[in-house]
Subunit: 459 residues, 2 copies
Amino acid sequence: MNTSPDILSEITALCASGDAEALRAYCLPLHAADLAAALAEAPPADAATVLGFLDLDSSAEILAHLSPEDQQIISAQLSPEGLARIISRMDADDRVDLMRNLPEERSEKILHLLAQAEREDIRKLGSYREGTAGALMTSDYATLTPELTAQAAINKLRLEAPDKETIYYAYVIDAQRRLLGLVSLKDLILARPDARIENFMHRDLITAKVDDDQEEVARTMAKYDLLAIPVTNGNDALAGIVTFDDAHDVAEEEATEDMHRMGALSHTPPGLGSVNMLEASTWLIVQKRIPWLLVLVFMNIFSGAGIAYFEDTIEAVVALVFFLPLLIDSGGNAGSQSATLMIRALATGRAHLKDWFALLGKEVGVAIILGVGMAVAVSVIGVFRAGPEVAAVVAMTMVCTVLFGSLVGMSLPFILSKFKLDPATASAPLVTSIADIGGVLIYFSIATWFLRDIIVAAA
Amino acid sequence: MNTSPDILSEITALCASGDAEALRAYCLPLHAADLAAALAEAPPADAATVLGFLDLDSSAEILAHLSPEDQQIISAQLSPEGLARIISRMDADDRVDLMRNLPEERSEKILHLLAQAEREDIRKLGSYREGTAGALMTSDYATLTPELTAQAAINKLRLEAPDKETIYYAYVIDAQRRLLGLVSLKDLILARPDARIENFMHRDLITAKVDDDQEEVARTMAKYDLLAIPVTNGNDALAGIVTFDDAHDVAEEEATEDMHRMGALSHTPPGLGSVNMLEASTWLIVQKRIPWLLVLVFMNIFSGAGIAYFEDTIEAVVALVFFLPLLIDSGGNAGSQSATLMIRALATGRAHLKDWFALLGKEVGVAIILGVGMAVAVSVIGVFRAGPEVAAVVAMTMVCTVLFGSLVGMSLPFILSKFKLDPATASAPLVTSIADIGGVLIYFSIATWFLRDIIVAAA
């Protein structure tokens, strides 16, 4: 298989030579995704030239595979007429995504260069809010009416097929476009040619609504292994379909968003896709990172205040400070683990809100085992470094902070979920900060009580 | 749509009544995924009874949708003969997954109850290592020979369709089963009935090899929006196909694994799927969590040693300890952010090893901006809490620790990747621990130098 750099250099050379025929011949066996990857690395003017040389269907496919940022950059190099010609060949969902990202003036100009049917389709699909099934769906799908015979249906699909994104599922609708059932191409092939499709179509369909959250739609499609899911609007009429490839992209985007949130990164609005590291501006990255960093700074003021409260204890037994990072970190690490497990379990449907109490019990058991294990490990060091009394304080604190951290880490996703917030906001940094505050209070409280004689003597 | 608890109670009632006919009628319109979810909550004996009452194809579908753990529990309730009957109706990839998880004795017994063709198919598919394309693929696919006409091909598929998992793509092979091309059902419908498929089949196929990593196969399928990908063996012969639904499951599994790793959780071996929180034993969870917790404890010994080295400074200016958690946490938080961004970018192909140097420059810029912003925020508190000198130390340290943490967080995934390790091992806890050690050294070094007069006076 050709690699991106190979394709890029070959295309650049052919562009420079101006030989359109050779360029077309070279690009023909290549997949649009690979060509798009190569053009994304090329100077935008060259990329636009290539699109100009290729046939419209190939250009449309390539444009669809580009990232939103690259689409903007490269399409800006094309004339409005040239862009409109390519857009009219794109799949319905891909072209509305592209149009959405164009500057308003340009997008209006392009719209007026398109055929009316295309213009209306783009307006309609573009009217749905980002992040919903409506914004994800395509209007390229095949419909049939229930009285058709299998043979008539196949003939109809044969006529419509080149324009439709998928004819493997054909949707059976009534006069008001309400969804009656579904037949797959396989069903049509297998049926007797004269059988009416209303007699063998699948009813009890799994559907989505235009306002459904895209993450939920993707999860539903994964659960039922659907190639495509029909989407109905407020009138229960069929409005579009979401295909498996778009569902997969949504799942990947949502997983990235979760991971970012768990790393205390702020949410980039949907539609911007995932921030491409090399392309994102410094300002955008700072915007994504500074909010949580500042929030956590102010939370950590409390841990400082806690330490200040125990100033006498620290002055009396300075050795306590040696173990401070170790102890509060352990609580935070245990909490991060718990939070990670819970967040992912909630996201993939393996745990539900109602499970919280049962899981809490298990968490306490696990945390105590972990805490005791770590306490044994550190008390060995503690005895050597600072004597048996401090070692005892450290060991007791270890069990408590690990328990506290784990409970915080485990509960926070549920609490967030209960208040309709994203459980992934229970990021490792957030859990760690809460565990730090608790850890400081626990540590120095235990120390102040257990070593009270030493502290009084030192005062 | 019925919910799981509704289905569960209905099924339990019908089971108790012993009315097989009513049970079958109730289950008929329900999707196998929903029935499986309900049966997973039922007592295993009831679940097995239900499977016994339903027709074999429905039972096979339901069994395929259960988690590996539930499959084991429920299938253990069935007689070997009953289980073998269901297994023979399952899709090839699903049944080999189930067989793999059975105790060896039972699996051998079942194998001998199956037809020879099925037995050999299971042995062959089961011979591939977990986590590879071979272990993921199914042998249920349609093949054609190149000289067939479109009409003859459709007739052949019509005969084979009920047994094949997907006939939407049919693979064209030669006498040695080498892959020549692909025709989709859509192509066959659209072609002239007497056209030979070798004249219109797609060549230049995207393929996988049996030993390819499953994550890579899933990424390839997502990149090219493939419904299925053909898998070839060492002889370049077609050995199976991986379908889009299995690729989606792999992508989800791999994302979960990455998230767990980033939360400092140890890796569960592939094939066990994701640990189901409610079902996983306490021992298994402890196994998953204790390794990294202990490693991080021992790493944090170094931060303690660092603090011990600066004991005099701390005794002289105890107020420094107030800001310790805040400063080292900020470094760790910034580092977690960087690590998160890099790990996900590497995993989704948005960044590559070669980009490290360019990204490093950008990271320095971003980190300095973040550090200065946070330094300004904390120095206000610092002045009020502990005076201008300490505030100055805190501010300087903040910029340095944020820079240090960010560089560590950003570089670690690349370094791990360079040594062929999983970049996701650069977990938030690991990055935080490294940042802590660095932060302690930076903080107290700056303090010791900047406040040297105060320290000397106090000694």
